[in-house]
Amino acid sequence: MKKYKVLIVDDEAPAREVIKKFITVRSDLELVGECENGFECLKFLSSEQVDLLFLDIQMPKLNGFEVVELMVEKPSIIFVTAFDQYAIKAFEVNAVDYVLKPFSKDRFFAAVDKAIQNFQTEKSPVHSHQRLAESYSDQMDQIDRIVVRQGNKIEVVQVDQIRYLQAESDYVMIVCEKGKFLKNKTMRYFEDHLPQTEFIRIHRSFIVNMTFVKNIEKYTKDTYLAILTSGEKLNVSQEGYKRIRKKIV
């Protein structure tokens, strides 16, 4: 009989205890680990096989959505939250399974059975998960931090530290004090979610944080160059220049 390997990720010990107790009742589930936060979870996933993941949303440092954004592996995930209307909305929009704390054994088993079913029909959960963090941010006015992964290293970039963003084929390169990071999102996403008071799309390829712009020089007849305090020079298109003018006025 196939045993599905389960990982519990929740910063609260009593919450983990509940799931552990429920798992012992089922012979088709095997608990392979417990993690207290997102970092431990990502580390665990990269070193051990996990079929099913119980993931709490509100956790120290990285929240559940950010963990999913950074995940390379593709286990089935059941999300857990006590009370977060925004999270619940994101779950419903993306049709991913979730349970509300406190949950009964029956509720727990129903979620597990559904995940196993999807597993067997090889329904890929990954695509719906990708959009989760976006659905969550969509409900807030703006994002204030971005999590990026470089190999096994994870960085949290505060939005006010970003100098500019540059389009790189399917990705976006985020340039800040800490360095340059690639993020699997579109320029449009950042245009919509970064604070519009500071960030302006000055060119098809560039979004700049105006707080780092020293001045703007004329380049050709219709285009300009934005000179940053760091010395970097970015192209400003005709459209982009209009946007800058509008913001300043």
Partner: protein, 348 residues
Amino acid sequence: MIKKVALKIWTVLLIASTLSTIQFIVLWQGYNMPFVYSMVDSLATNLVFTVLTIGLWLNVRITELTKNPMEIIIHHLTGVTLVVLIWIYVSRFAIRSFFGDDAFLMAFLSQSVAVRVAIGILLYVFFTILFYLLVNMERLAKRKEEEANLRQMVRESELQALKNQINPHFLFNSLNSLYSLSMTNNEKAGEMILNLSEFMRYSLKNEGIQFVTFENEWMHIKRYLDIEKIRFGNNLHYEEVIDDLAYDQVVPSMLLQPLLENAIKHGMYSLDHGVSIDFIAKLYPVYLQIKLCNTYDPEFQNKRGTGTGLKNVKQRLEKIYHRTDLCTVSSNENRFCVEIIIPRNEKI
């Protein structure tokens, strides 16, 4: 506004036309005066009086402003004298201009002066009373509307406060901890149920109450910490240093809870191995100093939803003690502190 004025004008015109008709009948039939004369006399005198009611109205409004009964009496005595005099003379002038110096008619006018004066005074009294009634009806209606609005506002704010008291995050997370405890440790579960219910009771009880003893506030905070400790275990560490004499001091109720919520939120969720919270209460000659500090990691700060708890505390202190310097925030790279000063023995 326009409706009210229109109403008044119509009332006066209605009464004036009624009086005019009565006067006409009295003159024509009672005194056997000529038809035309009776018409002119009654119309002219009542028209003039109608115009004069504006003065009556103003007089009523002016007397509203004083509370001195003598002043009011003097106003009205002056008013009645002026109004009646003006009325007699202007009506006489109007009739004279119409009929010329007819001796018979003039004699009639002079003879009827006494009656006209008496009627004038009666009309003055009648209209003045009518106007006072109208003014009071207006005031009553306005007061009723204001009271209804106020009651609505109070209901709304009570509802909002209730919603705020029952913090859903805290409630559901606590219930989940309780659920877990009920499976592993019945005795501890029992303890937590009692703690939680005492906590909720205090939150709801102190809705209208402004002040409590510091001891009550501290017990409430301690309950909160003990409930959260079940959730977080060793990830929540706290220490308190409280002056013995601080417990009897009077402080605003439910002031400290939002600060503690912030400390846990920012500390617990930015650090690797949990937050360390320090709670200090020191009594000084003129004030009670309360300090709440928590460790945190600024790099993992989630700025979302910050600021409102602290802002409310500041606003509340300002409203109660009329000072803006009672709440100060200080922080370095790994510790965040909020300090509150509560003046002692303030007459609120």
